[in-house]
Subunit: 259 residues, 2 copies
Amino acid sequence: MPKSKYENIYRDIKQKIESNEFAYQELLPSEHSLVQLYSCSRNTVRRALGRLVTDGYVQTIQGKGVRNIYRPNEQTAFTLGEIESFRESALRNGQVPATRVVLFLELTTDEKLSRRTGFPAGSQLIYLQRLHYLDGVPLILNHNYFLKECVPGLTPEIASDSIYDYLENSLGMTIVNSQRIMTVEKVTEIDEKYMKINVDDYNCMAVVTSFTYNSDGIMFEFTQSRHRPDYFRFQDNAVRRASGHAPYSPPGSPGISHA
Amino acid sequence: MPKSKYENIYRDIKQKIESNEFAYQELLPSEHSLVQLYSCSRNTVRRALGRLVTDGYVQTIQGKGVRNIYRPNEQTAFTLGEIESFRESALRNGQVPATRVVLFLELTTDEKLSRRTGFPAGSQLIYLQRLHYLDGVPLILNHNYFLKECVPGLTPEIASDSIYDYLENSLGMTIVNSQRIMTVEKVTEIDEKYMKINVDDYNCMAVVTSFTYNSDGIMFEFTQSRHRPDYFRFQDNAVRRASGHAPYSPPGSPGISHA
DNA sequence: GCCGATTTGTCCGTATGTATC
DNA sequence: CGATACATACGGACAAATCGG
């Protein structure tokens, strides 16, 4: 599968940056040069560069050029750049991911659950609790609510493997986007039980709440992921839009930090 | 200042969506119609729509159209859509933001600080501690480290107002991007002292660590923002890229949640 | 199932504006 | 000032997905 042209260029430049083909702070070849290198139009090069900007790999400065600001992991305590999943992180570090389904049941949305999840009251759901391990240590407890009509044939066996692979590859669903909210909440008894949290140590969890949509525009999933705080990390790159009350949040976000 | 054409279109459509000119789940006018409506090229319309996609306002589905998936605040417990800063949130709710500078000093980067911040050892810094209030309640304690040569003339008075306004409007600096990492950490004595945290209630803080760059490619700021956990919220919209090992992290991120 | 109309996705070439040096 | 580089905008072409007849 040859992918699209701009995506190939994006990957190629990204790979070159990661393999230190350009020094930190160095300017990349100009767009004009890249057009010749890849035998494509300037638009196509610019799409690729745009992705690298949002990934935090490069900066573009009008009149100057495109600067490499990628730091490899060894040089900082943190993994900068694009969002990295625990799974990717696990594989990179040679760790072993695993999933255990601790609850699997059907239920009907009542008023209270409807307000919390956004599903209409009365809709049929599949409710799962799943525990995710890394190297045998339980790190994340997921509360997944799926719209039943969207996930026919879902079983605990599938859920212990990969639900998304099943939805995309077996059911042919197209997942489009996911709205996520990160908060910090008190440890619950369920957290304590499954993740063996010592409340004297940490009495909070990092919680990611997400609403996920498919290509029919249906919000088919509501999930609350409860992460052990000592292993939780979320990365982001914010690009400053050329002034104006843009959706930019100053560092230390949310933005009051510099207000 | 008339802004760019695509940005005006972006704002206009966004405003129409927010004012319920399109029903939830409804398809927007086709790109062709928008071209005629705004008297512009299709590229320009598509740039505006692209921003709305990353904001989580709409989905685009090839062969079908562009669907409105924006939910106004009243209908969900959460504020969905683009990242909203505490300041914006404060103003929207009629709250009063304020900042107090509790520490302002110069220091030289030693080896330990260099490893933590990424500043070269020996560089001169301005170190600030600033407390941010909302309606008189201290919510965020910021530890700001600025490269001294990049912020000449910075005073505690300026820092209690807005450092970014000073850098951009008085010093003419152009801020380009900021790499951020969110974690959860134990409450420190300083947190307890300034934010009056009751450790029996919460013994953790939400921490946002950020590295901010200007248009010279210089990382001029390192900041650690420590947020009261009960007020912390961070929002995000993740777009699924058409298969391939994309920088997409399934909901409940980091991505192991569905692995 | 096929076909054609509609709609979004990708790509191209060109022109002009603006910032840097 | 001129040369270079990125930013914006236009118009056109074809591919790919969706939907209705």
